[in-house]
């Protein structure tokens, strides 16, 4: 157990170091990435640029710069943005986190409930019109680009029908902290939640249905039915319970990736200043410290999600416990 844990930890560290090195190298391979002149300001003299270069250590060899930057990020925790001078990177990431978490968590609740409902209902009514309708809807959900769907939702709720009863409650785009205005928090996030969740409801509903249909061909379902259990109980306690394992795997990975910043399209469309948008803006501005911080943060969540999934696996599937 302990060795497995240590191995897992080593793997996580390896992956995160790998990613940060990759980002670092990508950054320095980019033309126009030299931040000295940008930091020095428009119309700065050559001396000022040179001064900045020395101050920020851009004249030192790359490995040294990398180590220094990592040290400032993790040890001193005072790594500062290249673009917004004086702005500490870590608090930025920490402030963006609750926004992304709010978005992803709410969407996750929606998509888990929605995915379960779609999958279970479709599997239970397999072959019927309900099943087919649900599957077509799920497929449409999978096929819609999330940013486009978000935009259409914005168009409907912010412009076209904003004055009607349907969407008059929709507040302006942006984020309201849960601690300050819980109701406002909820209202601003409902539509982003829904937009983000649609894709996953589609995916999860389809996968779950396929798994359930497959489960229904298993012998143990026949046993359960032969026991005289009600169809609902057969579905929920036997078929669903066993089909949940891949569902949970998917959920863990998706949740991790989204919290890590992959919700950026939704964040961009709905003006939520979460991790994804932060990373995106940092990348656009070639703000290396911010990029490193956000990307390491993102990969941390992805790797963590992988680890958590493995753990949950053991929890959910007794067969994995001895392995």
């Amino acid at each position: 157990m302990i060795t497995a844990l240590i191995r897992r930890l080593a793997e996580m560290v390896f992956v995160m170091v790998g990613i940060s090195v990759m980002v670092f190298l990508i950054f320095f391979a980019t033309p126009g990435s030299d931040p000295a002149a940008r930091i020095a300001g428009r119309n700065a003299t050559q001396e000022a640029v040179a001064q900045v270069r020395v101050d920020f250590g851009f004249d030192r060899p790359l490995p040294v710069q990398y180590v220094l930057m990592m040290k400032r990020l993790f040890v001193d925790r005072d790594l500062k943005s290249f673009v917004n001078r004086g702005q500490n990177v870590i608090p930025q990431v920490l402030e963006a986190t609750p926004i992304t978490l709010s978005l992803v968590f709410g969407a996750a609740v929606l998509w888990v409930i929605g995915g379960l409902a779609v999958g279970v209902i479709a599997a239970a009514t397999q072959g019927s019109l309900i099943d087919r309708t649900l599957m077509v809807l799920a497929l449409i959900g999978v096929s819609m680009p999330v940013f486009w769907f978000g935009e259409v939702m914005n168009l409907l709720s912010q412009a076209r029908f904003h004055d009607t009863w349907l969407f008059s409650w929709v507040p302006a785009l942006g984020y309201k902290p849960l601690s300050e205005d819980p109701w406002g928090w909820f209202k601003t996030l409902v539509i982003p939640w829904f937009s983000l969740a649609v894709l996953y409801i589609g995916i999860y509903g389809r996968v779950l249905r396929a798994n359930l249909v497959e489960a229904y061909q298993e012998d143990f379902i026949r046993t359960a039915r032969a026991k005289g259990l009600s169809p609902a109980r057969v579905m929920l306690r036997h078929a669903l319970r066993t089909s949940l394992i891949p569902f949970i795997t998917m959920f863990g990975l998706d949740f991790g990736v989204l919290v890590g910043g992959s919700a950026l399209l939704t964040e961009v469309v709905f003006g939520l200043n979460g991790i994804g948008r932060l990373t995106y803006i940092a990348l656009q501005n070639l703000d290396l410290p911010m990029i490193l911080a956000t990307v390491i943060y993102a990969s941390f969540f992805v790797v963590l999600a992988n680890a958590v999934v493995d753990f949950i696996y053991i929890f959910v599937d007794p067969r994995m416990r001895e392995a």
Binding site: P31, S33, D34, A37, A40, A48, V83, N84, R85
Partner: protein, 567 residues
């Protein structure tokens, strides 16, 4: 250009309206200005104003920050020795005494100025302002490597040493305090006609002597203005409250504000910002309104919209050292071919942008309307002259060459790039557009290593002097091959014109009017060589809440929030 008549008529109408507005405010600042102001103060004082912006502008340090977004705020939070007058329009170009008791006369050789520092002024932390603070502040410009340390303040005696080793900066013979007399004398290496302007920009703010000698980032430094920064978080909010130690000493330089508090919220999209103002949840939006909201603002909310000229221009720098733009004829051809009215349309229509074919913006010192690159050359641009353009290209024999336009990845810049691509294709070039991140594009296009042929850029004034456009953008000194800091993006170095600019700068010390004459000739001379394509002069659209009154727009620092009320 059949739609031109309507366009220009509208423009004229609007100009008239703006003139009226100007006249009325001028009246107000006339004879009984002080009494009026007292009455207004009694009626409107108090309340909280909410400003919104997409993003914060970085460090709060007034000596480091170089953005119009925060310079606007520094007007009411920090003071220099001198200030631009806090009034409407181009009257704001006037220099008025701020922390100095009066605008000093130069010494006989024009190289030194003695400022008498006002007594009784306190920083927002309660400390008294002394001459020591003044000296320390000038040293600090170099110690924090202010972006303009090497360009604005390098003329002070001892500045060279400070630029080399900022940590040991003393400016021993450059900025000399006389504690007993309460004066500070600044000695220059050579006379500088623009030195007062340089003292009036935020980088020359007077800060407490004990302010940290490094960029303070997000920790505000106490100032002497009527407001102080109470808190700053670049992700969420910048809060300004009244400076408890402030007593108005010169209403032109640092007027007392109406509102008690200003909450400047960040992170709202432009769309959301506009909606918030419409709903009365915010009073003003920093970012320009998105294009698709303009028709709505101009019709349903026209009483809340203020449109003002900006001392700025959008232009396309042409790299005069790379084919095909190393050929003067090609540069002229493009100038002829560009439909500046269409470009104005991309910026939001003829109300929001004036076509221009010269470098200096209207209303600027040295501006004399002239346009050669149009169908009927004269004072104003009327229509593109495609025939002439094609002739010139044919003469140059460069048709068919590849051209890449580098634009910012913002909507307007990209749209302009796309339009210019169409024009260049029409002229026979094989053109592509390459948008890059706005934050990178500005340095990217400056560096000769990137071999940029043509790009889209803008220039906004720092202070009202023709040299701020012509000398900075086109002097040989501004061109440093291989550097990211080479603001002469065209890489154009014309020895004759360079000499003329030097003499105009020298002339201005003694005779500003004659110098301005010179500058307008230089402007025209540059345009003959066409190292760039002036596109249009943008205008500022301020959309304010229905409750906001006392809107004042300074041509230097734009909207003055301290002069506005919300009650």
């Amino acid at each position: 250009m059949t739609c031109l008549p309507t366009g220009s008529a509208l423009r004229r109408g609007l100009a008239a309206a703006a003139g009226l507005l100007l006249a009325s405010t001028a009246l107000m600042h006339g004879a009984s200005a002080a009494e009026d102001r007292a009455a207004l103060m009694a009626a409107h004082r108090g309340g909280t104003m909410r400003l919104v912006a997409n993003a914060a502008a970085g460090t709060i340090d007034p000596m480091v920050n170089y953005t119009s977004q925060f310079w606007q705020l520094y007007q009411s939070t920090y003071d220099g020795l001198l200030a631009f007058k806090h009034v409407n329009g181009t009257d704001a170009f006037t220099i008025v005494p701020d922390l100095a008791e009066e605008v000093p006369a130069p010494s006989a050789d024009g190289k030194s100025y003695t400022f008498k520092i006002r007594k009784g002024i306190k920083f927002s932390n309660g400390q008294d302002l002394t001459v020591k603070d003044v000296v320390a502040s000038f040293q600090r410009i170099f110690k924090v490597a202010s972006p303009t340390a090497g360009t604005f303040y390098n003329g002070i005696v001892g500045a060279d040493a400070c630029l080399k080793t900022p940590a040991d900066c003393t400016l021993k013979d450059g900025v000399v305090a006389d504690e007993a007399a309460g004066t500070v004398t600044i000695n220059l290496v050579a006379p500088d006609s623009e030195f007062f302007f340089k003292l009036a920009v935020p980088h020359a703010s007077i800060l407490p002597a004990d302010a940290p000698a490094k960029d303070v980032g997000t920790a505000p430094i106490p100032g002497t203005g009527s407001y102080m920064f109470a808190s700053y978080d670049p992700n969420t909010q910048l809060k300004l409250v009244r400076n408890p130690h402030f007593k108005e000493w010169n209403v032109d330089a640092q007027p007392e504000g109406y509102v008690d508090e200003v909450d400047y919220d960040f992170g709202l999209t432009e769309e959301a910002g506009i909606t918030a103002i419409q709903n009365g949840q915010a009073d003003w939006l920093f970012d320009p309104p998105p294009a698709d909201r303009l028709p709505e603002l101009g019709s349903k909310f026209q009483n809340q919209v203020h449109i003002n000229n900006l001392m700025a221009f959008w232009y396309a720098p042409l790299n005069t050292n790379l084919a095909p733009f190393n050929d003067e004829r090609v540069r002229q051809a493009l100038n002829y071919a560009v439909d500046r009215d269409a470009l104005a349309g991309l910026f939001g229509g003829s109300v929001l942008a004036d076509p221009t074919c010269q470098i200096l913006p209207p209303g600027f010192p040295g501006y004399k309307p002239s346009c050669v690159y149009t169908q009927d050359p004269g004072e104003a641009w009327s229509a593109p002259d495609m025939d002439k353009a094609k002739e010139l290209v044919a003469a140059s024999g460069t048709a068919g060459q590849k051209v890449t336009i580098i634009t910012e990845d913002t909507a307007v810049s990209k749209a302009i790039g796309t339009y210019l691509q169409s024009v260049l294709n029409d002229l026979g070039y094989d053109t592509s557009v390459k948008p890059i991140s706005a934050n990178i594009q500005f340095t990217y296009i400056q560096n000769t290593k990137n071999n940029v042929q043509i790009s889209i850029s803008q220039w906004f004034q720092d202070y009202p002097a023709a040299s701020d456009f012509l000398n900075i953008l086109l002097s040989c000194a501004s061109f440093t091959p291989g550097s990211d800091a080479s603001i002469n993006i065209s890489g154009y170095c014309n020895k004759d014109l360079d000499a003329k600019m030097k003499s105009a700068l020298a002339l201005a010390v003694t005779d500003q009017a004659a110098a301005n004459e010179e500058w307008s000739k230089i402007d025209a001379a540059f345009m003959e060589k066409a190292p760039l394509v002036p596109l249009f002069n943008p205008k500022r659209v301020d959309f304010v809440s229905g409750r906001l009154g006392g809107y004042t727009f300074s041509s230097v620092f734009q909207w003055l929030f301290a002069n506005a009320w919300v009650k």
